[in-house]
Symmetry: C2
Subunit: 240 residues, 2 copies
DNA sequence: TGCCACAATTTGATATATCGTATGTCGAAC
DNA sequence: GTTCGACATACGATATATCAAATTGTGGCA
């Protein structure tokens, strides 16, 4: 019944519905890139795997569909969408606005513990990249950014931003291994750490937007390369 | 089975699930202010009323809950939330960004049919206000704005904006009757019409933001008046 | 009259059963 | 060998049944 499993990070919070737990679990997996674009989501199969009925799984999946994170265009299939260039453009346009706001608002509210966390997380992030452990890298990247955003106390923007991260997660995950890792890439995070340490709203906003610009550029290069090339598997692959 | 009813505006689109139809219907009602803050939503009751099982109703309601349009904080109740001043602030901050973007992008893409539509809709809007038919007024107001936004072809921003309108709908509806209607209020829409007719991105963005500022001011005045006063019904009222 | 204990009811959450459609497979006809 | 259609299978959508928590109503006692 899921409660008995004590699944390490996913201890079932008292008062939280199954559907919410499953949603959070799916969201975490999407954010860390466990699903690839065009992967299929099978409600029954997933329900069996985690030992619950289809109802709460269906609710969690439908929530992601309604957020635009998953796609249910085809009548009988739910799948992880691929993002094209215009979609990426709009996602990042909105992210620059909202995450810029949050970064600027958070700047004067940060403290030493944030400085330490950012530095440590960035270090682990680099380690994960070196180890080619991209799931961990993605997770650490999101922890890095949202540590700052959460300080802003702008819950609506935070929620929308999370939804946008979920939208881009699968595509981002598949781009990561193709990334040319030169030092300028790492510099983006280091600049953010520096601006955060200075508690300066204007420069921190600029630094975050710079990081977003760099991500978007890499993504556009990636999806640009993909289009036109023969698609690997025309038939959607199974989950996991 | 809902399909047989041919409910005038809600003709069941082929291929649309029941849950989607119910979601759209609920959203439309929320947008036009059919629900008041603190109203309770009863899944079974609603399912009975429209003659379907609880499953699709529950899915539609849960979707609204996950969007933050409805509240399910209390364990056994789903209700329409009241908005406080900080929530209103953030909603409008984001709306200024997103709706401003859409207005500016749409400006050069508008045509004569849009001019006609905006003028006509604004006229009907004034009529509805005079007749104190606030549901119609709210609906016309949203049609007015979204006519412009839809031209921008920025689907993600459009979706987020719709969600934000849903969040503020119930509170806005209850503020409307308290509104002091002087001519400057109407001028906001007229300025938008003029800027739209000139197809000018910068001034249209400014005009839309001006309209939002005016709305936010009125809302803040309203919720400011409400706080401290005795609440009418401490026990949540029934739906309908 | 006021208040507390306990049963009945209500409600959302979850499980299970059923439905309709899409898809894939296999065999017959050409 | 190719095409087409009947049948089996898989899937999401919906309906129904059950559960547990929470609320409400009520009766009895102080």
């Amino acid at each position: 019944m899921l409660s008995g499993e004590t699944s390490m990070y996913e201890l079932p919070v008292r008062g939280e519905t199954l559907a919410e737990q499953i949603y959070r679990q799916l969201a975490t997996e999407i954010l860390s890139g466990s699903f690839a674009p065009l992967d299929r989501i099978n409600i029954r199969q997933h329900a069996d795997e985690i030992g619950v009925s289809v109802t709460p799984v269906r609710e969690a999946v439908q929530r992601l569909v309604s957020e635009g994170v998953l796609d249910a265009t085809d009548k009988n299939t739910i799948l992880v969408p691929e993002r094209n260039e215009p979609e990426i453009q709009e996602i990042f346009d909105i992210r620059r606005r909202l995450e810029g706001d949050m970064a600027a608002t958070a700047a004067p509210l940060l403290d030493e513990s944030d400085d330490v966390f950012l530095k440590k997380t960035h270090g682990s992030y680099l380690d994960a990249l070196d180890a080619e452990d991209y799931k961990t890298a993605l997770r650490l990247n999101s922890l890095f950014h949202f540590r700052i955003y959460k300080r802003a106390d702008l819950p609506l923007r935070l929620k929308i931003a999370e939804s946008l991260w979920l939208r881009i997660g699968p595509t981002l995950r598949h781009m990561y291994p193709t990334l040319q890792r030169d030092r300028t890439d790492h510099r983006r995070h280091e600049i953010i750490i520096e601006c955060a340490a200075r508690r300066d709203p204007v420069s921190l906003r600029t630094a975050v937007i710079g990081d977003l610009n760099s991500s978007q550029l890499a993504l556009n290069r990636y999806v640009g390369d993909q289009t036109g090339e023969h698609r690997r598997s025309p038939s959607p692959r199974r989950m996991r």
